[in-house]
């Protein structure tokens, strides 16, 4: 059985439960989805730290209640932004450690989350889809999708784009083709491991990390570009925890890459939109977890005819879409509730298009739009760009 939380004992004991983590600092809008919903102290970030303390002191035993508290958190990391104390930068790590220990003590994860761990182990994706179908998203544009032994850039499609948001994969390929860069996709791509890392199911993590790193090495790629915020965060932040980093390999989110291309004049946007108001949702894994806020905005602002109106909670204060941390599978309805709040916030800007930069955000925001019968149009930035090239 693991004892991951002991590694964070000092940080856990640092928390006085001052409550600053519960709201956006200096703004006092809500920041914590699970705290806002369930309201008991235990569901807030400070509550989780004190649960960890209770476990360390033997005053609490692993239980289903603890499981529900821990796994209802989308791991959005808003608390890390709002906490003003020295332990602020490891809060999400602590929650993941708690989850890992919950799993090893047989208490977690939620049954629906176990399913995707098994699928990742067997088929290298959380959707229980056949691994051999990983490149089926190419259908209709096969000739446009490069598959090479070696290339400067590996386009890491990610599981959600490969199996669920295939349009996004296709749009990304079309844009990459426009830039003229030397890139390839690979049928040998496996899940980045994010779903199992976030839910404490760590048994296969080292395997998936090593496999993907070997793939990058095999292709000789100097850059890995992904259109999934989750994959981006995982490769950039988590991979180094499990394996030695590949020297000289740069991990880029598609928005970072496209910003570079636009600024270098390698991607032109000849078409124009007519007075379109858009707003942009910062995916947690791209924004808060990885610090990428400006690249997507720079792209939006480069699009002729588009005005960007920001929502009230943006950048490091952005409200989560509700899909992350296993919440989409563990708490389906509530996950959409969280997203609905984001849709409402988007509507308040008066925008016609809500943009994002993560296929998983897109899935959940789409579900919320449907549930609320909202008229707002949702697109990934790549989708929008694809219409303009």
């Amino acid at each position: 059985m693991t004892d991951e939380i002991s590694k964070y004992k000092e940080e856990i004991y640092s928390c006085t439960r001052c409550g600053t983590c519960k709201y956006i600092y200096h703004v006092y809008d809500d920041s914590c989805p699970s705290g806002k919903k369930f309201r008991f102290e235990t569901f807030y970030p400070s509550g989780k730290l004190h649960i960890a303390r209770g476990l360390l002191e033997g005053k609490l035993e692993w239980s289903e209640r603890i499981r529900d508290i821990l796994f209802s958190c989308p791991l959005c990391g808003n608390c890390e932004t709002q906490c003003q104390c020295r332990q602020h930068d490891v809060l999400v790590d602590i929650y993941e450690a708690l989850r890992a220990d919950a799993v090893s003590h047989g208490v977690g994860p939620l049954p629906s989350q176990k399913v995707f761990a098994e699928a990742i182990e067997k088929e290298h994706n959380p959707y229980k889809e056949d691994h051999t179908n990983r490149l089926n998203w190419k259908e209709g544009i096969e000739s446009e999708v490069p598959q090479k032994e070696a290339a400067e850039i590996l386009y890491f499609v990610g599981c959600t784009s490969s199996y669920r948001q295939k349009d996004l994969a296709q749009a990304t390929v079309k844009i990459l083709n426009k830039t003229g860069v030397d890139y390839t996709v690979s049928e040998d791509e496996w899940c980045c491991g994010s779903p199992i890392m976030r839910t404490g199911q760590l048994d296969s993590v080292e395997d998936v990390v090593k496999h993907n790193l070997d793939l990058i090495k095999k292709i000789g790629a100097k850059k890995v570009v992904t259109s999934c915020a989750g994959c981006y965060r995982t490769m950039k932040v988590d991979f180094p925890k499990y394996a030695e980093q590949l020297e000289g390999v740069e991990i880029l989110h598609i928005t970072e890459f496209l910003q570079q291309m636009i600024e270098a004049g390698k991607l032109e946007l000849p078409k124009k939109l007519e007075n379109v108001i858009v707003t942009y949702h910062d995916p947690c894994h791209l924004g808060r977890h990885s610090g990428v806020y400006d690249a997507p905005r720079a792209i939006i602002q480069a699009i002729p005819g588009v005005t960007l109106i920001e929502m009230s909670r943006v950048r490091e204060n952005a409200w989560c879409c509700g899909a992350g941390g296993g919440v989409k599978s563990g708490f389906k309805d509530w996950s959409v509730e969280i997203s609905a709040e984001r849709i409402k916030e988007a509507e308040e800007t008066g925008c016609t298009i809500l943009l994002s930069a993560c296929p998983f955000c897109k899935t959940n925001l789409q579900d919320a739009i449907k549930a609320a019968n909202s008229k707002i149009q949702l697109m990934d930035i790549v989708d929008l760009l694809n219409k303009l090239i």
Binding site: E11, S14, D89
Partner: protein, 116 residues
């Protein structure tokens, strides 16, 4: 977890913050400080502090060793300086700011005019 950097005496904290925050804001200043090798004693009228510019590192200590240059100014005058009520040059001319040896004036000015 965030870790405290720098000294824990109040004047040392002020000096350390003044220099390092300017280094974070100004890449030229950062380069200048990172290239510096100099021991400066600063006396603000409470107790002397030694600032060791050691190429890529900065140490501020109450342990006084041999100094390359000594800077003396009282705390009130320092506050007036940093509030923009006067300038280092004017204070130097008015003997409110004393620098020894005089030849290090330019270097001292370069270090502290940006920090203050």
């Amino acid at each position: 977890m965030e870790v405290w950097e720098g000294p824990t005496d109040i004047l040392g904290i002020g000096l350390y913050h003044s220099i390092t925050s300017r280094m974070n804001e100004d890449s030229d200043y950062r380069q200048f400080i990172n290239d510096l090798e100099l021991n400066v004693v600063v006396d603000l009228g409470f107790y002397p502090l030694m600032i060791k510019f050691k190429k890529e590192s900065l140490e501020i200590t109450r342990v006084i060793e041999k100094a390359d240059v000594t800077l003396k100014v009282n705390a009130q005058d320092l506050f007036d300086l940093t509030e923009g009520k006067s300038s280092m040059i004017w204070f130097f001319l008015k003997r409110k700011l004393k620098i020894k040896p005089f030849l290090k004036l330019f270097k001292v000015y370069k270090i502290f005019s940006k920090a203050f």
